[in-house]
């Protein structure tokens, strides 16, 4: 039999896969290169050395990790169709459990483990509420955030208060995971960095920031990003998990037990958020401190959406946030003021792109004038008021998102209730 009927029947849409923007390694490297160049240009002209200093980069990573881990947590559960706004609560559980485990067993890695378990417990609760009882995902998340706070306060009272150097709201100092450096290159790089040469010194600073005094926990966290990608996109487990977030009924019709996978996803999600919390109490600071998450769980959620529900993207979002947060905390007035110039250049570039590539004259004019305004502000002021430097990361995030108009694609069945046997 000839299949001609069917072959010609293939509608045109099927011939060319819609030319959606594909991120290749090459593009990625070019992007990073351009960014570094931009930074070093700005550094060069403004003299804001902190933009590319080893310290800033090191701080950036340290501040990005907890956000990134929370984001990964969000990714896991939302990929399985469960919205997780309880990340903050699970993170809080992680801060306590991390510190407690490390102290109890006098071993930081037991702390890491405990942190994961603590968060996972929160995740389990969320799974019971949303998957088994079909409760609205968001309210369950809110409740878990309240609970997480209360439970940790209670636990720290009954544990840390008794310990020497501890208190109701604070643990004694914890044993920290080991810190490592790439041997032999720290000194020479520091030397280079201090030369303040264009580009070279900047690269040296960035490299040194990434290779010296890095906690093993940080390395673990970074590895979790590719690992997540591999598991979710390359394994059978991951495919089934994602299918539960895209079309649970289809999964069900092929014998996949949707409940099981949703449970697994949400528990793992909690564990990751818990790791984020543990990082705060074990690495970012060396003790549990009540309220030390400071809303990072929500920022993690934002980072995940920023990354369009993909590991790489959310890592980028977390890094952007961590870097700008580091800058503003370290030498806000100066660095953030310098960033204004960078922003001006960036917007100007967009304007040119709009004009040349897209022939969108009107848009180009608007963007262009925006660039001019920003530059004017930069030129006319010599520092940014403290109140505003503190929100540099937030403003930057918004700026990036609005410049790069993105086609968000959340899992199709994200947040929708699912019941077995309700197939239509």
């Amino acid at each position: 039999m000839s299949a001609s009927g069917l072959k010609t029947g293939q509608p045109p849409v099927e011939q060319a896969r819609s030319g959606a923007f594909k991120l290749t390694w090459r593009l990625l490297l070019i992007g990073i290169g351009a960014l570094v160049l931009l930074l070093s240009v700005t550094r060069f002209f403004t003299g804001a050395v902190d933009l590319t200093s080893a310290g800033a980069i090191n701080a950036a990573v340290a501040l990005a990790v907890p956000i990134g881990l929370a984001g990964l947590g969000g990714l896991w559960s939302e990929r399985a169709g469960v919205v997780n706004i309880g990340l903050e609560g699970m993170m809080i559980l992680g801060t306590w459990a991390g510190a407690w485990g490390a102290i109890q067993f006098a071993n930081p890695w037991m702390g890491v483990l405990a942190g994961a378990i603590g968060g996972a417990a929160g995740g389990l609760l969320h799974a019971v509420a949303t998957v088994t009882f079909g409760v609205d995902h968001i309210i369950s998340g809110v409740a878990i955030t309240i609970l997480g706070g209360g439970i940790t306060e209670f636990l720290s009272k009954v544990t840390f208060a008794e310990m020497p150097g501890g208190g109701d709201t604070q643990s004694p100092p914890v044993p920290k995971p080991q810190v490592v450096s790439l041997p032999g290159i720290g000194e020479p790089l520091a030397e280079l960095e201090s030369q303040r040469w264009f580009l070279i010194s900047d690269l040296a600073g960035i490299l040194r920031g990434l290779t010296t005094n890095v906690s093993l926990f940080t390395i673990l966290a970074v590895l979790l990003v590719p690992l997540t990608f591999y598991v979710l996109w390359r394994t059978a487990f991951g495919l089934r998990l994602r299918s539960c977030g895209e079309r649970p009924v289809a999964a069900e019709s092929l014998g996949v037990n949707v409940y099981t996978y949703k449970y697994a996803a949400v528990v793992i999600s909690g564990a990751l958020a818990g790791l984020g919390g543990a990082f705060l109490s074990l690495v970012a600071s060396s003790a549990y401190r009540e309220g030390q998450t400071g809303g990072r769980g929500f920022i993690g959620l934002a980072a995940m959406i920023f990354g369009n529900w993909r590991p790489g993207g959310l890592a980028g979002g977390a890094l952007l946030f961590g870097y700008t947060d580091g800058l503003q905390l370290r030498r806000g007035g100066e660095s953030v003021h310098a960033l204004l110039l960078l922003v001006a250049i960036l917007i100007a570039a967009v304007a040119v792109y709009q004009l040349v590539r897209q022939q969108r004259t009107q848009a180009a004019i608007i963007t262009g004038s925006a660039a001019v305004i920003v530059f004017a502000i930069f030129a006319l002021t010599d520092s940014v008021p403290g109140q505003f430097t503190s929100v540099t990361p937030h403003i930057t995030t918004l700026l990036v998102l609005s410049l790069a108009a993105q086609r968000l694609r959340m899992p199709a069945a994200d947040g929708l209730p699912y019941r077995k046997g309700q197939a239509k």
């Binding site: 509420a129 009272k157 008021p385 109140q387 918004l398 609005s402």
Partner: protein
């Protein structure tokens, strides 16, 4: 079944459809369930469950506590309505928090700066608050419509930015004045003419209920009418239920997003008003915070339904007011928080359980009709 009655219960309990006594069963079961779970928590923490719960109930029913609850609930209700407007079309406005804080600050400053005849003065302050709230929300709305930025991110970020902006404004060079001998700092107190007197409607206490509880009630009615009785409301709900269907039916979704978000923001602007015009008369460092977050929980607790939200707000208010009495009874503050969390969870779970029961009940009813030898109801329906 009687259409009117069914649609009423339907509205009362959101999408849960219940016949007969079941509507009562839901809240009842919720209370019992919550009680049991909470008792467990208390046992674990070594507090006497029964006495503690009795004390809570006892305290919660005293005139003074009732006034406090009503005042809390007034604020919470407004917050939840603001959030619910967004939810009804799948917009998740986490930014209510920033919107109301900024709105209250600016409104307080304006209200303190000038004096007008009473009704005008109040009206102006409220108007300013709504405008500021709407304006701040419109940033997120525009970002979504023009640039496709998820409102979840943008509002999270805008909350932080509102904090910074507020801190910058709340400064002696700008909107704030020094409060003599205090480490606090706030806007110039609003004159008599701009204050809304409380109402002594609860006998047995000299404490007064916020005059603006009226505003909250009005907002509830407005919300209900607007969404369920008007064309605009229909379009909004349709968009929420199925964007594609709404588009095909001629709804301009982008416009709806814009309007809904701005309305949500305007409503958010009102959140601070009862407190500002009824109690503090000035926006200062100790102005209540985090109400947006509470609003999200309460809106969903009430299933985005005006009556449901009222119950949710009262429950939440009850839990908050009972915190002090519990501490006085040696229940530590963190246990109080744990109780709040568990109660919220158990209430919604109880609702789901009743919902499930209702489904099986429906199936049993059908099977009875079947054994009764009548033709399947589906056919009756067609001819009815």
């Amino acid at each position: 079944m009687n259409a009117a009655e069914s649609s009423f219960t339907d509205r009362l309990l959101g999408r849960v459809r219940l016949e007969g006594l079941l509507p009562l069963a839901a809240p009842l079961l919720a209370v019992v369930f919550a009680g049991v779970i909470t008792s467990i928590v208390l046992l674990v923490s070594g507090d006497p469950p029964l006495e503690t719960l009795v004390a809570m109930a006892d305290y919660g029913t005293q005139p003074r506590s009732i006034v406090l609850m009503l005042n809390y609930a007034t604020t919470y209700y407004l917050a939840a309505i603001a959030v619910a407007i967004g939810f009804r079309m799948n917009l998740f406005n986490i930014g209510v928090d920033g919107q109301y804080r900024l709105a209250a600050l600016v409104a307080a400053a304006v209200g303190g700066a000038l004096t007008l005849p009473a009704p005008l003065h109040i009206a102006l302050i409220i108007l300013v608050a709504m405008l500021v709230g709407a304006g701040w929300a419109s940033i997120a709305a525009l970002l979504k419509v023009k640039r496709g930025v998820s409102e979840v991110i943008s509002t999270i970020m805008l909350n932080a930015i509102a904090t910074a902006l507020g801190a910058w404004l709340l400064n002696k060079e700008r909107l704030a004045v020094e409060i003599a001998g205090s480490n606090n700092i706030g806007t110039k107190p609003i004159a008599e003419s701009g204050q809304v007197p409380g109402m002594a409607i609860i006998p047995g206490t000299e404490l007064k209920v916020f005059g603006l509880i009226i505003l909250a009630i009005a907002m509830g009615v407005l919300y209900h009418v607007l969404l369920n009785r008007t064309r605009f409301g229909f379009d909004l709900r349709a968009t929420g239920r199925s964007e594609s269907a709404a588009v095909a039916s001629g709804v301009n979704v982008k416009k709806m997003v814009l309007i809904a978000m701005i309305m949500s923001g305007a409503a958010a602007g009102l959140i601070g008003m009862p407190q500002l015009l009824g109690s503090s008369y000035s926006y200062s460092l100790d102005f209540p915070t985090g109400l947006g977050f509470t609003g999200i929980a309460i809106a969903l607790l009430g299933r985005n339904h005006p009556v449901g939200i009222a119950f949710g707000a009262l429950l939440w208010a009850f839990l908050d007011t009972s915190s002090s009495i519990l501490q006085l009874r040696e229940v530590s503050p963190e246990i109080v928080r744990i109780m709040q969390g568990t109660i919220v969870l158990s209430v919604i779970i109880a609702y789901e359980l009743v919902h499930r029961y209702q489904i099986t009940a429906g199936q049993r009813r059908v099977s009875k009709e079947l054994s009764g030898g009548t033709t399947p109801p589906r056919v009756e329906g067609a001819s009815a």
